[in-house]
């Protein structure tokens, strides 16, 4: 069992990890930038270390300070949370070199899953279907038409170094292929300094469904059900739910088995998520990528199953192994998570850092709030805008939606605009209630969900 864990993160996930450690009797060391002195995780931890100025590059992303602090306080583990250094293979290696257990996979495992081409190859070997295309490999101008012809139009042109939608272009017909590929290359060069592109079949009517897995690092892997994260704006997940409400039992079973098979094939250690695209028109699914960390939306799974995923991470990292087997995982009811951000939904989601003059989180049956916020807390402008994750559970989806509506309507957040009004509007939308949406729906209907004010920012 780990004895003392340094949490290399901030915000709600730092608070979450501190809680899990405390339940296991593990001492906690928080780290904080100079902008986060008053943050809740600093108060809740047994000990806290300042690791630099507000800029993340000089604090939460500074591997040296984090590992140095861990060594100074004699921590035997580092939990990276999500974001920051959570999927940084070099950091995992550096922790190992310093004799501090990184709570997550080895650098080697992270690297294999981070490289798209390698990850696709691993998936193919494990018998997991991937989106037809150039297999994550770069395609030059001459090869474009041949590959596109083979996989069939429309095709998606993607930057090899890319992410977050930049350098991504659609070609619906052969005559648009070269021109759009050139645009994508130019954008990729500007954004990432690398013009390499690859091709993928374009799946327009899809859901983003991901399977939560837990691995013991020795080939033992259990899945803990799936989550549907199709409500996205600019590739940011805003609402997540589980189980996925639109797939047949056979497809669900296929997803779970594929995820376990992939994770087992790399002797995966700890908590991970295997992301899939589910083609609603073809009743088929394709592997997209694997996230080698705990995810923002992990509480959805915890509400459905009663499994404490961060606890399992800590148990595996501490050498105790997983506390559960596949047969212990029982799903019940429906869970939904809304990410409440310090953003003004009516003004194009403009970030709204500032002080919470009043703050009362919702509670009651089936409502969970993961947050680092409190009345008087100043949400700093330097990091992401998340104020809280509101997660609800209910016996069925309709009741879960009603419960989320009630929870958000009773959420007191004064002083700064938040995305609560946006979520309330989204929950009331016909498309959400009737499941008539795919991954593109929100982007296309954002004006209907949240009309923009006609004021200048």
């Amino acid at each position: 069992m780990l004895r003392r864990v340094l949490i290399a993160n901030r915000g709600e996930i730092a608070v979450r990890v501190i809680r899990a450690c405390r339940e296991l009797g593990i001492e906690t060391v928080a780290v904080y930038s100079e902008a986060d002195r008053d943050s809740l995780h600093v108060r809740l931890a047994d000990k806290a270390a300042c690791i630099g100025p507000p800029q993340a590059t000089r604090s939460y992303l500074n591997a040296g300070s984090l590992i140095g602090a861990a060594m100074y306080v004699k921590a035997d583990g580092i939990h990276p949370g999500y974001g920051f250094l959570a999927e940084n293979a070099a950091f995992s290696d550096e922790c190992a070199a310093a004799g501090v257990k990184f709570v997550g996979p080895t650098g080697h495992a992270i690297r294999r899953m981070a490289d798209k081409a390698v990850a696709r190859a691993v998936a193919a070997e494990a018998g997991v279907p991937t989106v037809p295309g150039s297999d994550g490999k770069a395609v030059d101008a001459d090869g474009l038409a041949a590959v596109a012809g083979k996989i069939g139009y429309p095709v998606l042109i993607k930057a090899a170094a890319g992410g977050g939608g930049r350098g991504m272009m659609l070609a619906e017909t052969p005559d648009r292929l070269s021109r759009n590929a050139l645009s994508a290359q130019a954008e990729a060069q500007a954004a990432f300094g690398d013009s390499s592109i690859y091709l993928e079949k374009y799946i327009g009517n899809a859901r983003h469904v991901e399977v939560q897995v837990l691995g013991d690092g020795r080939g033992g892997v259990v899945h803990v059900g799936e989550r549907d994260c199709s409500m996205q704006r600019r590739h940011q997940k805003l609402v997540e739910e589980g189980p996925c409400p639109v797939i047949a039992p056979a497809l669900r079973k296929g997803l779970h088995e594929a995820a376990v098979s992939l994770a087992a094939s790399v002797d995966y250690e700890g908590a991970g998520t295997v992301e899939f695209l589910v083609d609603l028109d073809a009743d088929a699914f394709y592997f997209i990528e694997m996230n080698t960390r705990i995810q923002v939306e992990h509480p959805v799974t915890e509400m459905l199953t009663g499994v404490d995923l961060v606890r399992e991470q800590l148990l595996v990292a501490g050498g105790e192994g997983l506390s559960l087997r596949q047969k212990d995982v029982k799903l019940r009811g429906h869970a939904i998570e809304c990410r409440v951000n310090a953003e003004d939904g009516a003004r194009n989601f403009m970030p709204s850092p500032g002080t919470l003059s009043a703050y009362v989180a919702p509670g009651g049956p089936g409502v969970r709030v993961d947050s680092h916020c409190y009345a008087g807390y100043a949400v700093p402008p330097y990091y992401d805008s998340m104020i809280a994750k509101v997660v609800v559970w209910a016996p069925d989806r309709a009741q879960a939606i009603d419960r989320m509506r009630a929870a958000l309507a009773g959420y007191v957040i004064d002083g700064i605009p938040s995305t609560v009004p946006f979520h309330l509007s989204l929950l009331d939308s016909e498309a959400f209630r009737t499941n008539a949406f795919n991954t593109q729906w929100l982007e296309k209907n954002i004006e209907r969900v949240m009309p923009q004010e006609n004021t200048a920012a």
């Binding site: 000990k47 300042c50 100074y72 070199a97 850092p353 330097y382 990091y383």
Partner: protein
């Protein structure tokens, strides 16, 4: 918590082997702030840094390592001339001089600009806001370091109007 000379050596070794160019650890009464320097003597941060390091900062518990540096105080807050025009940060955020890590800065001191030219980026909660030159003129001074946290209303660039 007691710390031996060996402990600090060990910590410094880690930094030396890693890509870390700067180290900042404060726990209890222990404080260790280190920056590695490049051959030319400038602090080697990932983004170009304009401010030279200040003299070493005294620290209670730490032995003096090779390059202990205090935080660079924002010394250049006064206008460079009576006629200079300030570009103030409209919000609190992080100031970036270049469109992407590793890319060239939008402008350098001495560059000519037209009113409305993009001269820097303010990152507010990961949303990148481009800031524009307030007038035609010359970049007179950039008193803020790249990737520095700035408060709302702080001058981030001075322009000599033309």
């Amino acid at each position: 918590m007691s710390l031996t000379y060996e402990d600090v050596q060990e910590i410094l070794k880690i930094i030396d082997q890693s890509s870390t160019r700067e180290l900042h650890i404060e726990v209890d009464d222990f404080k260790l702030i280190v920056r590695k320097y490049d051959a030319d003597g400038s602090p080697a941060t990932a983004m170009p840094a304009a401010t030279p390091a200040a003299p070493p900062e005294p620290s209670a518990a730490s032995p003096a390592p090779a390059a202990v540096a205090a935080e660079s105080a924002a010394a250049d807050s006064a206008p460079p001339s009576d006629t200079a025009v300030a570009l103030e940060s409209p919000l609190s955020g992080t100031f970036y001089r270049a469109p992407a890590p590793g890319a060239d800065p939008f402008v350098e001191e001495g560059d000519e600009v037209r009113r409305g030219d993009t001269v820097c980026i303010l990152d507010v909660m990961k949303v990148m806001n481009t800031l524009k030159a307030p007038c035609d003129g010359v970049v007179a001074r950039i008193p803020v370091e790249n990737a520095e946290a700035v408060g709302a209303g702080r001058p981030v660039m001075w322009f000599e109007p033309r």
